[in-house]
Assembly symmetry: C4
Homo-oligomer: 284 residues x 4
Amino acid sequence: MFSTPMQKEGSLAQSLEDACYELAIANRMVAHEGVADAFGHVSMRHPHDPGRYLLSRSRAPELVEPADIFEFTLDSAPVVPPNVRLYGERVIHGEIYKARPDVHAVCHHHSPAFMPYCVSGEEVIPVYHLGAVMGAKAPFWDQRDDFGDTNLLVIKPEEGASLAKALGPHWIVVMRRHGATVAGRNLHELVFRTIYSCRNVEYLTQAKLLGTPSPLNVREIEGAADYNLAPGPIGRAWEYWLMRLGKAGEVPPQAVKPAKTTRGRSFAKRAKSRGAKKVGTRRR
Amino acid sequence: MFSTPMQKEGSLAQSLEDACYELAIANRMVAHEGVADAFGHVSMRHPHDPGRYLLSRSRAPELVEPADIFEFTLDSAPVVPPNVRLYGERVIHGEIYKARPDVHAVCHHHSPAFMPYCVSGEEVIPVYHLGAVMGAKAPFWDQRDDFGDTNLLVIKPEEGASLAKALGPHWIVVMRRHGATVAGRNLHELVFRTIYSCRNVEYLTQAKLLGTPSPLNVREIEGAADYNLAPGPIGRAWEYWLMRLGKAGEVPPQAVKPAKTTRGRSFAKRAKSRGAKKVGTRRR
Amino acid sequence: MFSTPMQKEGSLAQSLEDACYELAIANRMVAHEGVADAFGHVSMRHPHDPGRYLLSRSRAPELVEPADIFEFTLDSAPVVPPNVRLYGERVIHGEIYKARPDVHAVCHHHSPAFMPYCVSGEEVIPVYHLGAVMGAKAPFWDQRDDFGDTNLLVIKPEEGASLAKALGPHWIVVMRRHGATVAGRNLHELVFRTIYSCRNVEYLTQAKLLGTPSPLNVREIEGAADYNLAPGPIGRAWEYWLMRLGKAGEVPPQAVKPAKTTRGRSFAKRAKSRGAKKVGTRRR
Amino acid sequence: MFSTPMQKEGSLAQSLEDACYELAIANRMVAHEGVADAFGHVSMRHPHDPGRYLLSRSRAPELVEPADIFEFTLDSAPVVPPNVRLYGERVIHGEIYKARPDVHAVCHHHSPAFMPYCVSGEEVIPVYHLGAVMGAKAPFWDQRDDFGDTNLLVIKPEEGASLAKALGPHWIVVMRRHGATVAGRNLHELVFRTIYSCRNVEYLTQAKLLGTPSPLNVREIEGAADYNLAPGPIGRAWEYWLMRLGKAGEVPPQAVKPAKTTRGRSFAKRAKSRGAKKVGTRRR
């Protein structure tokens, strides 16, 4: 299995450089798994300073490089004025970090899975064990309640604060006619919740076409979320998404070397030995 | 971010060769993003002569090379008689350029997103902030109204003129049993509107299966379209689609060199340094 | 555009080797475009002997090589007994070639597009201009009418003959709980009809979820089919599918060299010249 | 066609090393064909000891290497204590092997095809000839019946036993709010049933949106399953999925050398000969 400094007790163990590297990977993961396209972004709280967060300059998440990542105050001002364009919707991140000290990573997206719910106002509910990681409730935020007619973006600090208030103690907030925002206690948990809440919603949509699905009950949600948010399942999924990025050429090969195994021979080794030739001759 | 002569004030700054190059890329983009297949085409008004437009010879848009592009008068006659087959439906482009001096780029397509609306006659409406770029209304053109039973193509000048009249001051016209035609004030805006109107319609279809979605209101549409059609969002999406073309080998690598960043190290540089080895050893 | 001996007047111009080569490509095309998976097959009538047809040995169509193709009599017996396994459902091809002298190519498939119609018994109708190439009617064949309960396969000559009778003068027959069989006057037309009838059915399904679509009328079907089955549109689509096979490594590069164009520079040439560097420096 | 020791009479002919190699490939196949993602697993009974089974350490199935595979007793204890994390849900496999001596391979998955049925409780039925391989009935297991509220996982031996009891003499069991588990008499049959039952369910879902599909009748199911589970169809599909893994770089090239054919020239050979140049010059 795959261990990173982030998963260790105490985030101080993670250097800023490593954090930027991981965050770039997380951005590419959610894009590569179909959650984000040209838009959407993943941030994380600064590993050494809870009063700051890390976020890319304005760029499609699939393209984010470690060097694209800048530091921001919780008021979403860049710590060092950059000479590049920044995301307009930074306050989504900053205001959630302000309101929720337990949150260390945030993803905002307009995924095809969630958009039909953003548009129709139908409720998003957890319907299977991996979907339980979204939590029991995903509040629906309608910007009109606080601001009347807007351009539907979240750019002003008060807009971000209103969204953070709607999120409350939950993990996902569905944004009317816009998208969704997801929170996590760390970056790996965030990516896991982001991707599996999308899968949950895809199955929910299909199930609604076939019948009338009900949510998991509270005990099921708590039990399944506890199990799936442990290091084992999260690490297994992270390794999988990382290998897929690697195969697609989206991260350097060094980042995705397979873990060493304890016995036997790998595909690669077998290919070099006589065993490989045996396989070749299996065919008539 | 990515700047092209087209985005500069005054199109005279763009050479004809650059325009053909950009137009070939735009054709490949809409194909690569699932809007066009063997059919469909993107044109642009001639950068130096508003009385002409540029369009490929008859070829699937994913295959268009700069050298495939020819000049046409607004009557859709080739300026120099070519010895290759031309698109039959050129008048779609020519007649819209005639009727709409503000339009500098046109895309005709039969995307899977729009076809169910072309077939069912259900109304296409903007339902989320990026979908607002389609504008408040997408008129429905039924060829039978002017011409009775036809082969459903748009080949005669009067057919193109009828379509342009149906488009009116709007940006998208839905064509009964055929497809859609999209207009833009420049090529980048056109590609953005073409792709995000498809996304909008996909979410609309899903939302209709879940509930009864209503359109954004006029102030939301205007606000969100103004925001998203600014150079920032359009440039960010263009860079994303261009990089995707590059990764797929659809444009030469020179076209998609990543923009220079201001600090830190890129994935590529890290891979060459000791830092890369550190990443490799992170795994147990 | 792309010309093959098959498109010339008189099939005698095409060598048997060329025919096998084209047929292998056609098998790979329908697989690569999502019509066939491990099952399904494309055949063609022998270019020199209308009493024979060409079909691969038993193999997934995406894997068919020219060397896999064998000759069969119209009774679906191999002309030379092969030492490899053959398709069990060869009679689908042989019996249609017997009943329909105008048919020179046949595709049998279980595409995801058609299967919901095979299962539900809902009628397949043409709903857009490219879908018109399926013709006005696709009869539904229910094997039980002639044979009672069966294993749903088409293996006995009388089963093939029953299917061919159901096809009658039409171009597509939908097979209850099984798939579809498509006929063409030549191989390129067949591939075009096979792929675009699938697209038509996908749009029909979506349109049925949104409203109550009706078919094109007879004059529209005839007009649009005439237009789209001409060499121009068919050649353009064939070039597109062939290039896609080439990019995916499914056919040798020699098969997909781009056609020469008449003026200007291609992407490849531009990349070698100073022009390419200019593109690289367009970015800030 | 492709022959493996597993298909021979008597599994003793297959070495343990070959079994691990095949099992790793089977895991990658179901992942590559869209059945599994980061989760899901395929096991097989030990080829020499029916009281043991083989299963990977905890890892996404697409990443499983032969060296990842360990031996387990039917109580799902590792024969040699490993120093790596194991799947939590091993008892799914062990308890089915205990209850069903005829079963030699098991796949547990949460495929997008089945999940809407796991969520809605709608019945999964076979609706086309290849879908017949799922058998006439796929029981629905609701964990609450035996255990009340749980975390929805199957971790305790009694949970696995309850699932195995629900499976009974059938081949697939649908698990409420969780996924599905599939059994096979050998590994190739298992993979075939797993993938084609997913296809069957996808078509069933679409057919339910169009009309009211009924299942195949018992004679159709038996006839079609007998035909499709014979070595011919299973071997043809296995070769196809293996070649697809090979093209995607998921198995070493040695594993997917094409079978020798009996006559004519392959694409590769033609490309080296003058024939290839002829193809190149076909284009104008």
